[in-house]
C-alpha cells in the first residue's frame, strides 16, 4: 500500500484576488495525480473585500476539508498582511510564499488603522523559509496584473508533490480562452523565481 502523507496548502488573500481560481488549479492538478482531494472556501459576506482563505488538502485519503493551524506545508499568500496573519499556521519548516503587494483594508482606508510599514521585516523575523516576490510586477510583465495569482502558483510549483506540467494543463483549460497565453506566461515567470523551494 502506498503511503502519501496528506499535503496541506493554505491560500490567503483579499476577496477578488483569485483565491478560488488558484485553489481550483491546485486541486485539479492533485486529482490528475490520483490523490484524494479536499478543498474548502467560504462565500457570502466573507467575500466582500474581507480576508479570504482557501484550504487545500490532498493525500491517499483525506477526511477533513479544514487544515489544523500548525500543519500547513505551503502557505501561499496574495497580500503581505494576509501572509503575516497566517504565518503561525505553518508546520515547522513549511514554506511561506507571498506577493509583496499591499492592499488596504477598509479599516486602513477609513483612517482607523495603519498598514504596518514594516510588514516584510515582521514576516522575515517570524519565519525562516520565506519567498517574497512582487507578483504584480511579474504579472504586468506577462500582460495583466490580474494574473498575479498565477505567478504565485508558478513560484511554488517546484515545492509541490505534483508536476508543473499538470498545473499548466489545468490553467490552460480553466482560464478564459483569450487569456491562456498571458496566464501561461505568468506561470512561467513565476516558475523562474527559483527562491520558492
Amino acid at each position: 500500500m502506498s503511503t502519501r502523507p496528506t499535503f496541506n496548502i493554505l491560500i490567503s488573500g483579499v476577496g477578488g484576488q483569485g483565491v478560488v481560481l488558484a485553489s481550483y488549479v491546485l486541486s485539479q492538478a492533485a486529482l490528475a495525480e490520483s490523490y484524494d482531494v479536499k478543498q474548502s472556501e467560504v462565500h457570502g459576506m466573507a467575500q466582500r473585500g474581507g480576508s479570504v482563505t482557501g484550504h487545500l488538502r490532498f493525500g491517499d485519503r483525506v477526511y477533513s476539508s479544514l487544515i489544523t493551524p500548525g500543519t500547513v506545508d505551503v502557505l501561499l499568500s496574495f497580500e503581505s498582511v494576509e501572509a503575516a496573519r497566517y504565518v503561525h499556521w505553518l508546520r515547522p519548516g513549511g514554506l511561506l510564499a507571498y506577493n509583496t503587494v499591499r492592499v488596504n483594508s477598509s479599516t486602513v482606508s477609513a483612517g482607523l488603522a495603519e498598514y504596518p510599514e514594516d510588514i516584510d521585516a515582521r514576516i522575515a523575523a517570524a519565519w525562516d523559509n520565506v519567498c517574497a516576490l512582487d507578483a504584480n510586477a511579474l504579472a504586468a510583465q506577462a500582460g495583466t496584473v490580474k494574473a498575479a495569482n498565477v505567478v504565485m502558483l508558478g513560484a511554488v510549483a517546484s515545492a509541490l508533490p505534483f508536476s508543473a506540467e499538470a498545473m499548466e494543463t489545468v490553467i490552460r483549460r480553466s482560464v478564459p480562452p483569450k487569456t491562456v497565453d498571458v496566464n501561461l506566461e505568468a506561470f512561467r515567470l513565476g516558475r523562474a523565481v527559483n527562491a520558492c523551494g
Partner: protein, 618 residues
Amino acid sequence: MAKTAAPERPGAERRVEIMSGNEAIARAAWEAGVRFASAYPGTPSTEILEALSRYDDVYCEWSPNEKVAMEAATGAAMAGARALVCMKHVGLNVAADPFFSASSVGVKGGLVIVSADDPAMHSSQGEQDNRQYARFAKMPLVEPAEAGEAREYVKAAYELSERFDTPVLLRTTTRTSHSQGIVELGDRVADLPPITALDRDPAKYLMMPHNARGRHVFVEQRLLDVAAYAETSELNRVELGDPRVGIVASGAAYGYAREAVPGASFLKLGLTYPLPRKLIADFRTRVEKLYVVEELDPFLEELIRLMGIEVDGGKDLVPLCGEFDPGLVARALSAAGAPGVDAGLLELREPATGELPDRPPTLCPGCSHRGVFVALRKMKAFVSGDIGCYTLGGLPPFEAVHSCTCMGAGISMAHGMAKVVDEAADARNRAVAVIGDSTFFHSGITSLLDVAYNQSDVLTIILDNRTTAMTGGQQNPGSGTSLAGQPAPEVDIPGLCRALGINRVAEVDPFDLEQTERVLREELAAREPSVVIAKSPCVLQFKIRRPAWRVDPDLCSGCKVCLRAGCTALSLANEDEDDGTRRVEIAADVCNGCGVCAQMCKVGAISGPEAGDRKDAR
C-alpha cells in the same frame, strides 16, 4: 464556474469530478430524477440551485422566500414529482409552518429539504442547529460528511422519502456545502412519465382536524418504522478500530475526529434522526469509552443518553459554539485521556507577527449603498436595518445601522419603535428602516403593509440594486429575469408601496448626496408613513466600471472627512516632506468613480475624469 459538471455522455467508466457539496447535491438531484426545485438564496446553500439550474429537465426557481419555496416544493411532490427545496438554516425558520405541514401530509414524489447550517457564522446572524427541526417535525434527518457522500445521501433520501411517505431533511454545514471533494458521476433516471392527474386523497392531503388527527397517528408510527430501518441502513456505518476509544460522529465533525484519532473505533451516523438504538447500544459494548463529537448542540449526545446508553464525553469536552477542526477535536480528546490522538495536531501556536489591521468585509468601491449611509450617519438617525450587503453600514466608519435581526424585520421593528417612542422625541430617535430590494420582496412587503395599515410615521428606505447581492447576485422579482434567464415581470416598487397604502413615495439617486440627504430629512420629518427608494444597480453583479477620480494634492488639506466614505480606494499618504500633512490618495485601480468622496470634500480637492465632475464644496 468551469468546475460544474455538465451532464455527460453515458457509457463511460467510473467518472469522477471535484465538486463542492452543494454541486454534488445538485448533481444527485438531477440523477435522482428531480423535476422541481425551489429556493431562496442564502449562504451557504445558494450554489445548489445555481448548479442544478444548469442541468436540463429540471424546473428550478428562486422563490420570493423560503416559506413559498417550501410550499411550492410540497405541491410538486404532492403532484407526484420528485422535488427539492434548499435554504440556509435561518431560512427554515421562515419556512417552519409549511415544513411541519409537509411532515404531516407526506409525499407522493420524493421531497428532500436541504438546510445548510453555518457553524461559526461565516455569513449569518445566528448559529442555530437545524437538526433540532427534524426531531421537532418528526421527520427523518440525513447528514453527509463530504461532497461524495452528499451525492449518495441525496439519492438515498429520495428512496427513504417515497418508501416512508415523508419529506427528508438533509442537513449540511458550511464545511460540507462549500468544501470540495471527489464525486462519482451517474446518469439521470430515464423515462419519467408525464404527470397528467392530481390525486384526490383528503385523508392525506386535506389537513382539517379530523384528517390531521389520523395523520398524526401515521407520523408517530412512521418514526418508529424509520428508526427500525436505521438499524440496518447503509447510511449508518461501524468502523471498528482501537476498542479503547469509540467515537460517535456525523457530518463534517466525523472528518475532524477521524483525523484526530485515526485508529479509533467509529460509529459514523448518516441517518441521524430517528437514531438506531440497537446499533448504538451494540457499539457501546465494543468500546471502553464512548465519545460523541458534534458541532453546535448536543443533539446526538442527548438522544443517546435518553436511550440509557452511557456516554463518557460530549459537550463537556468540545465547544457548543463555532466550528471545529481536527486540532480542536484532538486536543479535546487528548485532554479526556483518549489514547491514539495524533500528536502532530496538539500544538497550538500563537501569531508571531504583531498587531495587524483587521480586514472585515466592506461595501465595494462604487457601491450604491454608500451615499445613503453617508447621509444617515450625518443625520445621526437610528437605523433599523435588515439582512444584506447594507448590514455592512453598521461597521465603522459609517456605524449607521443600529439593529438587525432577521429578514424583513427592519421595517416591522421600526414600526414597533415608532408606536412607543414619544412624539416629542427628536428626529435622531425616530427609527428609519433600511431594506434591500430582495429582502423587501422576501418579507418586507407585509411589514410595510403593517406600517400603512396601522399608520406609523416610519421612514422606510428601500435600497433597490436590482439583485440579491450578498449571496452573489441572484435574480429576484425586481430583476426582470428568472433563474432560468427567462424574461419575467418586474415588480413596480413605487406602485406596490402605493397599493399597500403608502401615500409618500419618493425616489432618489444615491450618488447625489445633496438630494439624498435633503429628501431623507424631509421624509423623516413627515408625520406619516413614507418610503424613499434609492435605485441604482449593483456594480459587482452588473460589472459596472466607471473611470477613477483623483485627488489634487495642492488642494487636499488632509482633513480626512472623505475617509468617512468608508471606501477602500481611499487612503492616507505618508507625511508630506514639506509640511508634514498626510493627504488622501485614491488608488486608481480600486476606485469605481462614484464621486461620493468628492461630494464630501469641503475644499473641492477630488475631481472626476470629466471637466464637469468636480462637485461644489459643501
